[in-house]
Point group: C2
Chain length 182, copies 2
């Protein structure tokens, strides 16, 4: 069975050069020059080490999923040399909501899927879940994106729009790590 | 932060005596005389070692959740000396479904919550998620129940009814471990 776990480690080497680490809310992350993105935990001195698991979708309907499958592109396209890792954590209030309440905030009130769809096919992404790996995980989700340099404004608009949603009122920690592929 | 991880280990000692291990579908589990239920991993020779994390609910609506909170009882009531651990795994087809499709099978077609509610307050339970702990977990869910001896028929009826649902067509591994508290 292929592993569904991905590691994102900041340090002196890695397959991506870090251009900036911006703390959006809550506690930040230590500086590093490089980001190693891998399915294996590298045994080296990392300044930060994050991990997440690719899992089943939690909110999309069949109709939304079919649309996504048709329109989204894979990570690693040759021209997609810009990358971004956005770790976020949501507060206890979010996790105490019921499924219908979370779905309503996620899509009916915040249009999370609709906003994301507007950035397709320029922006490719993979979502990783961390919350249930242990009770001590620093983030709930890690989202990894790539895109070509001319599409960075589309990506920035997407982040800006998401951060203004009702859903984001439940985000209590967010870091925005921009990288370029080496 | 309190740990949300629980361990269930079969071996020569533990806080519960194993009365029987019944393989319902798929691969079984090795024999053991005792089950240790703990929030710490015991460093001893276990014949099987299962772990899961208490997480947010994935299907219940606010109305269903409020009803549950009002009617369910906690684990560990003095008279609830009978226990059961039911590890299950669902197949790849289940995990490829969208959220609305899984909810429809779970409740609208299989009445999972309604069936469970009929067993309240006699049966207390705690659900643990395992699927996202690693790609090699032997089960997706561990559910731990306790009840008093006179309520065992209610529990058996609940299991029987669930196993006849459409939802259970997606279950490809299930073991039923019955214990008594020591």
């Amino acid at each position: 069975m292929p592993s569904r776990t991905w590691y994102f480690q900041g340090g002196d080497d890695g397959n991506f050069r870090i251009l900036g680490i911006n703390t959006v809310s809550g506690q930040g992350l230590p500086r590093a020059s490089h980001l190693a993105v891998s399915q294996e935990l590298k045994q080296r001195s990392a300044t930060f080490s994050l991990r997440g698991v690719v899992s089943n979708e939690r909110y999309v309907t069949r109709q939304e999923k079919d649309w996504l499958v048709k329109h989204q592109e894979p990570l690693g396209r040759p021209h997609a040399v810009c990358g971004a890792l956005i770790p976020i954590r949501k507060n206890a209030e979010w996790w105490a909501l019921s499924q219908d309440e979370r779905r309503a905030i996620f899509e009916e009130r915040s249009a999370h899927i609709q906003l994301g769809n507007k950035a397709l096919p320029a922006i490719a992404r993979r979502l990783h879940h961390c919350r249930d790996l242990s009770a001590e995980e620093p983030f709930d989700f890690l989202t990894w994106f790539d895109f070509s340099p001319e599409h960075e404004p589309i990506f920035d608009d997407l982040l800006g729009a998401l951060r203004r949603t009702v859903e984001w009122e439940y985000v209590d920690r967010e870091v925005d790590i921009r990288v370029e592929r080496l």
